[in-house]
Amino acid sequence: MAFDIYDFTSLTSSIHEGLATFLPPVGVLVAEWLLVGISVLLFVAVFGLILVYLERKVCALFQQRLGPMRVGKWGLLQTVADFIKLLMKELITPNKADKFLYNLAPFIVIIVTFMAIAAIPFAKGLQAIDFDIGVLYVSAVASLGVIGILLAGWSSNNKYSLIGAMRSGAQIISYELSVGLSLITMIILAGSMQISEIIQAQSTGWFIFTGHIPAIIAFIVFLIAGTAETNRGPFDLAEAESELTAGFHTEYSGIKFAFFFLAEYVNLFIVSAMATVLFLGGWMPFHVGSFEGFNAVMDFVPPIFWFFGKVMFVIFVIMWFKWTFPRLRIDQILTLEWKYLLPINLLNILLMTLIVLMGWHF
């Protein structure tokens, strides 16, 4: 196989064996935990900063502006400067707030994003934990984030925060359904919930191409519901600036605000990564039927580039939504979910079952 050179399993197992030669088993465990912990921490921090920069640049692109240009070359250090500024701000806890819950909320949103990242496959063998119920796990953990948002809004003792949190809660739990059901549609096709197996099943062709019409419908539904899940784009009325100041994080200042911001962008990454895994083949290269030469060239590109390329594409599409569509009202959002997406999803599952059972998929 051509892309075996890019298999990270040999790398990780050699690290494991190298550590085992001079450390007791407990020491190996601690060393590996430290390594993984630090790399995940670095990944989240750096990728979060890059995404914030990208968001501002994409926004500028759509509005025919330049975006951040002053700090560093092309404004590349802008988000780093912002981060340092937020870190150096005084933390304020309002007098009337529920102090314990108010401080607990940023912990919850960040813990949830980190635990979801545990199951994201970056490349072959570069996945922290390969659960046999991976897809269910990610959707279950990612949906816990709403608790942090509700706590933040309620404990602040601020009317804007409360309204923002309630809207966001209703919206996130509603779109949770569509995310779950479109995932189920793809699980029917894959026949497994284990993320590595789902990706392996796409080695002959990505599910969006092999899955016939239901896969395309599920992809569109997933994109819409995923955007709503992350409180972004046309569905950002939880923090509708013009009416609610900043929604559920109005009362948060300094680094606590930064954590809500970071969690939003990491959630964006998680949604895009799940879309990539289930529809666009994860880290599988693009193959066209029997064009051997073309396929070999595609195999030459490392899987990690494939993965991040596809994730970046999905992220760009979601950002595109945000800067193109006007914000929806709460009743429009709930109507869209309960009267359109949910029935479409249920019919789509039936259609997918029929296609899989009849063997009509490619």
Partner: protein
């Protein structure tokens, strides 16, 4: 890594947030001003209670969500074995969805899906 390692991700997140909060509590300069700790609303002092009974509409959707999410949990194991079970799986899910669809239709007709 085994699934016990999940606790590692939990600890990493707690360490990240905790250390940043401790740093931000110790290092940045502080200035005392009583107005700073008031709710950030309109500039004047906040009026009335904030923690009060809230629009019932949100709770109706929460209850609906509960029903449909439990149904989604039933579907996950079903989805993994569709291929092996064959046509039986399709007929069973057809019955399941009929009941579910009737439920959704009932909520629709009762105007539970209408925002007021």
């Amino acid at each position: 890594m085994a699934s016990e390692s999940l606790i590692l991700f939990f600890i990493t997140a707690v360490v990240l947030v905790g250390s940043a909060l401790i740093f931000s509590n110790l290092v940045p300069p502080k200035s005392a001003n009583p107005a700073k700790f008031e709710p950030y609303e309109c500039g004047i002092e906040t009026y009335g209670e904030t923690w009060l009974q809230y629009t019932v509409g949100y709770y109706i959707f929460a209850i609906l969500f509960l029903i449909f999410d439990v149904e989604a949990v039933f579907l996950f194991p079903w989805a993994t074995i569709v291929r092996e079970t064959g046509m039986t799986a399709f007929i069973e899910i057809l019955i399941f969805f009929t009941i579910l669809g009737l439920g959704l239709l009932y909520a629709w007709k009762k105007h539970a899906l209408k925002w007021e």
